[in-house]
């Protein structure tokens, strides 16, 4: 039982971030831990609700009130057991998740919600420090083999669950390192890669085999892979990026965010000293106001950009929860991420008319126009055209769906109306033994949904291979976040 009056005695606090002028000199994480005893105080604010709405905010089914109370009582070892019971990778979600659990926290109705995410990350960080996170080897092997294609959070969660259930699992990844977006999408300053490497080492010790630089459908065909494994989990993500078809798009210096960000990660991995695409001394424009855009902003600042401007076509969101997104839904708010604290401009309700280039075919500027929403469509506001100088433009406009061409052509897998890989209630595609998890089946989503799907598909694959399963299945393929 939590302290029933904790929320009345303590107000919400989050630990301070490192000072901006210090942290943009390096690539280390901007977060800091709480001092001694402060996290326990924060955890004591949890009210142990009769109906814990945080459970409906998070698809993982995290037992949030339970581990909040365990932290309050400083029983950290039980806390990590309860946390790991529903979440394979709390060190990832604790750093990267936008925390819909906190948006759904009952305290948030009329006060500041519990710092669930901070509690989560400090539980797992302490568990690693104490040596409590050890490989969990299966008691016996099933003799069944599973290939997981894609090594993002969905694929890794599926692989860990299936391996622990006794199956022999190989994870295929087309990039040269394992991790998917965790490796080459998330900048170092949001999650230092040693967290990922540490978890991968645990999985390898548990028996998972990693096969980077393996582009299934190209270097190995899908039918070949299918012939070699008893089941395949497609967890290739939603990597088909949206583009901006306006005049001048062909100019050099304009690229997708995912063509820009990975180089900074490679520098941190030690592959090179200077990235081939570098924002140093440049006027940088980031098109897209989401988290990927913010990652570009933070990366450009660290590379020493002359200026950074982030553009968003939607109007500036409200500071407070708007009426159309009542508690416990996840509201669209004006959020100041760590990257935004570090500088740069943000422009809302603007659309790109054209890119402007020089004689060498390199971009030199961008022409914008203000837009307003009329009957669900953006309409330009005449006379608001303006130009900004630009040497480097990144497009961070979201992802349309999976790159599933070879799945369709080589296996005959069907796509759904949205272009995602179609699947039944057991996560199986229209082709037997081919399962689909994560953004490849769902469309672009949050890391918690990816891990939840990975856990659920593991349960479905285990049932398919063995006829029954004891693995948990936190979500169905059709489950969606809570909305009005």
């Amino acid at each position: 039982m939590a302290d029933p009056k904790g929320f009345l005695k303590t107000s919400r606090q989050t630990p301070p971030r490192r000072p901006v002028d210090v942290r943009i000199q390096d690539w280390k994480e901007v977060y800091q831990d709480f001092g001694n005893g402060e996290l326990e105080q924060q955890a004591s604010r949890c009210m142990d609700c009769g109906i814990p709405f945080c459970h409906s905010g998070c698809p993982l089914g995290n037992l949030i009130p339970e581990w909040n109370d365990l932290v309050r009582r400083q029983d950290w070892q039980s806390a990590i057991e309860r946390l790991h019971a529903t979440n394979n990778f709390p060190e990832f979600t604790g750093r990267l998740c936008p925390a819909p659990c906190e948006s759904a926290c009952v305290l948030g109705i009329n006060a500041d919600p519990v710092t669930i995410k901070q509690v989560e990350v400090e539980i797992i960080d302490r568990a690693w420090d104490e040596g409590w996170v050890v490989p969990q080897l299966p008691d016996r092997l099933s003799g069944k083999t599973v290939a997981v294609v894609g090594s993002g959070p969905a694929g890794l969660a599926a692989a860990q669950q299936l391996s622990r259930a006794g199956h022999t699992v190989a994870v295929y990844e087309r990039a040269d390192r394992i991790g998917g977006l965790l490796r080459y999408g998330i900048p170092e300053f949001k999650m230092e890669k040693h967290h990922l490497d540490r978890r991968l080492a645990q999985m390898e010790a548990e028996g998972v085999r990693f096969r980077p630089s393996s582009d299934i459908g190209e270097s190995v065909t899908w039918p070949d892979l299918r012939a070699r494994y008893d089941a395949i989990v497609v967890a290739t993500g939603a990597t088909a990026w949206r583009d901006l078809e306006v005049p001048g798009r062909e100019l050099t210096g304009i690229m997708q965010a995912m063509e820009y960000l990975p180089w900074a990660n490679r520098v941190q991995e030690g592959d090179m000293v200077e990235p081939p695409i570098n924002a140093k001394g440049k006027h940088v424009i980031v098109i897209g106001g989401g988290d990927t855009g913010a990652d570009c902003v933070g990366t450009a600042h660290r590379q020493g950009a002359a200026s950074v401007t982030q553009l968003e076509i939607m109007p500036r969101p409200a500071d407070q929860r708007p009426d159309e997104a009542p508690w416990p839904t996840y509201p669209m708010l004006y959020r100041v991420t760590s990257a935004h604290e570090e500088g740069g401009d943000r422009m809302f309700a603007v659309s790109t008319q054209q890119f402007i280039g020089n004689d060498e075919g390199h971009v030199t500027g961008i022409e914008l126009i203000e837009v307003r929403m009329v009957d669900g469509r953006f309409e330009p506001v005449a006379g608001t055209e303006r130009q900004l100088p630009a040497d480097l433009i990144t497009l961070a406009m979201g992802f349309a769906g999976p790159q599933a061409e070879t799945l369709v052509t080589q296996l005959g897998v069907e796509l759904d109306a949205r272009g995602n890989v179609a699947r039944d209630a057991q996560f199986m595609s229209t082709v037997d033994s081919i399962f689909v998890a994560g953004d490849a089946g769902r469309g672009q989503s949050l890391i918690v949904w990816a891990i939840a799907e990975g856990r659920a598909v593991a349960s479905a694959v285990d049932a398919y291979l063995m006829g029954e399963t004891n693995l948990p299945s936190p979500v169905r393929p059709t489950d969606r976040p809570l909305v009005v």
Partner: protein, 510 residues
């Protein structure tokens, strides 16, 4: 809240309240009779848990003259309900309701009661189903609460409701955002849906058994058409009211004497109703109506009697003496010609002063089990009691000048009990401590024993008073632990000139 419940701010109460005045259908009939006497205008409701056999219970309740029978389903429950009750008590109200309707019809009892249903009714469809199964009234609680902002925290009993619904904490009450219009709109929707429901069906269910209408004589009503006959016209109180006319009309003193028999149940209660109706909760000046009764009184002698009425009974009494006593004074002593030893004979039955809130009781002789159970304000003097004395007591003073049974003071959260020659092994020490009397205690007990002697000519009191210095040493004091803390806080606040309630809330809320 504490004032309404005649308890002490800052001291927890045992919830749900145990009904130690009801162990049989006869007990229930007595309670219904008592309540009807206490307010003949009121409809007396009896709430029954839907489960197999509820129809039989409902038939008994109808025969016990309940005006309304409420069939409550297994889905409901307040946020303070124990999880065991929420999860494991009862059956669907649909089944209990069908069984009740059919059993009442078969026994010719349906026409005299109103049948009500509740237990997580949420929609117009629920109302229509309940109506089809026989209900005439429909209870909603959780759904309107949610409409007002309840998030089902299940902390109603902890005073920490974060949305300000079930709390006395001013900080949290600020957070309440409900408005009356929300509830009004909710019920408008319910009414709209009831009108819209043309029919309903549930495939795969054989509904014949629960929609079954028993073969009935022609003209039998399937709903409430006549009122229960509570037999109030036969009450002795009709004479008491006539004798007390001067007091009722002009607040002038009345002294009367009248014989009583054990068929006279709930004596004094309807008289009390007439006083309260005219003079409100404050009643009349002490002793305005002073009635002496000779004989053996029936059950619930002096139930709910308000301030201004003194009933002196020369003889003896049955169970429930002084139930819900609300300021009146009850004195019972043997007849002057009785040859037995009053101090070793029973003079009143079980469950004396159940739920009484104020007033005085003097019993020259022994009383039965559960003496002063749930007493919250009465001062009672008695010369011996049975088991479970002062159970769940929340206030008042009890003085026992003789033997006790086992399990004294179980669940006692307030009030003080003084016992002569206490065998401390019989005390249930979970919530109380046994202490010695201080000077204030001793003075209070002395004056009470003097009054006991004055009112009853008790030989026990007489011999104790002869050598009071020795007698007072034989007394022990039973003091509830939290109650003692709160009393200390409020005394300190008074000394320092602080607001007492604020000080208590500060101490309790930490």
């Amino acid at each position: 809240m504490a004032k309404t419940r005649h308890s002490t701010p800052g001291v927890g109460l045992i919830s749900p309240p145990p009904h130690h005045d009801i162990y049989s259908i006869e007990d229930l009939a007595q309670l219904i009779h008592d309540l009807k006497n206490a307010n003949p205008q009121a409809r007396i409701h009896v709430k029954l848990v839907a489960e197999v056999g509820v129809g039989t219970v409902a038939a008994g309740v109808a025969k016990a003259h309940s005006d309304v029978i409420l069939i409550s389903g297994h889905d409901g429950g307040t946020g303070a309900s124990p999880l065991t009750s929420l999860k494991h008590a009862g059956a669907p109200w649909e089944l209990g309701l069908a069984e009740t309707q059919q059993t009442l019809l078969l026994n010719g009892l349906r026409d005299r009661v109103v049948v009500q249903a509740d237990g997580q009714l949420k929609t117009g469809r629920d109302v229509v189903i309940a109506a089809l199964l026989g209900a005439e009234e429909f209870g909603f609680a959780s759904a309107p609460l949610v409409v007002m902002g309840c998030v089902m925290m299940r902390v109603c009993h902890l005073d920490t409701c974060p949305v300000g619904v079930a709390t006395q904490n001013p900080v949290l009450r600020e957070r309440f955002t409900g408005r009356p219009e929300f509830v009004q709109t909710f019920f408008e929707y319910i009414a709209e849906e009831v009108r819209a429901v043309q029919y309903w069906k549930a495939s795969g269910l054989d509904l014949e058994p629960i929609l079954h209408v028993p073969a009935l004589p022609e003209g039998t009503s399937r709903r409430h058409v006549v009122n229960q006959d509570h037999g109030l016209d036969k009450a002795l109180d009709n004479q008491l009211i006539a004798l007390s006319a001067q007091a009722l009309e002009y607040a002038e003193p009345v002294i009367a004497q009248i014989p009583v028999r054990n068929v006279n149940r709930t004596v004094g209660t309807m008289l009390g109703y007439e006083v309260t109706k005219r003079y409100g909760g404050a009643g009349l000046p002490d002793g305005t109506i002073d009635i002496t009764l000779n004989g053996s009184a029936g059950q619930s002698f002096g139930a709910f009697v308000p301030r201004g009425i003194t009933l002196r009974l020369l003889g003896d009494a049955n169970d429930y003496l002084g139930k819900g006593l609300s300021g009146g004074r009850l004195i019972v002593r043997p007849d002057e010609n009785a040859s037995f030893d009053a101090a070793t004979n029973v003079i009143a039955g079980n469950v004396v002063a159940y739920g009484a809130t104020s007033g005085e009781i003097f019993l020259r002789g022994l009383a039965g089990e559960r003496f002063c159970v749930r007493n919250s304000g009465v001062t009672a003097v008695v010369e011996g009691v049975g088991d479970h004395a002062c159970e769940y007591m929340t206030g008042g003073r009890v003085i026992v000048l003789g033997p006790t049974g086992r399990n004294v003071a179980a669940g006692m959260s307030g009030g003080v009990t003084y016992i002569l020659d206490l065998d401390s092994t019989v005390v249930n020490a979970e919530m109380v401590d046994v202490e010695t009397l201080d000077e204030t205690d001793a003075a209070f007990v002395l004056s009470s024993v003097r009054r006991h002697f004055e009112f009853t000519q008790s030989t026990v009191a007489e011999s104790l008073l002869k050598d009071w210095d020795a007698s007072v040493k034989r007394l022990s004091k039973i003091m509830p632990k939290d109650y003692k803390k709160v009393l200390a806080v409020s005394a300190a606040a008074e000394r320092e000139g602080k607001d007492v309630n604020t000080a208590i809330m500060e101490a309790v809320n930490g």
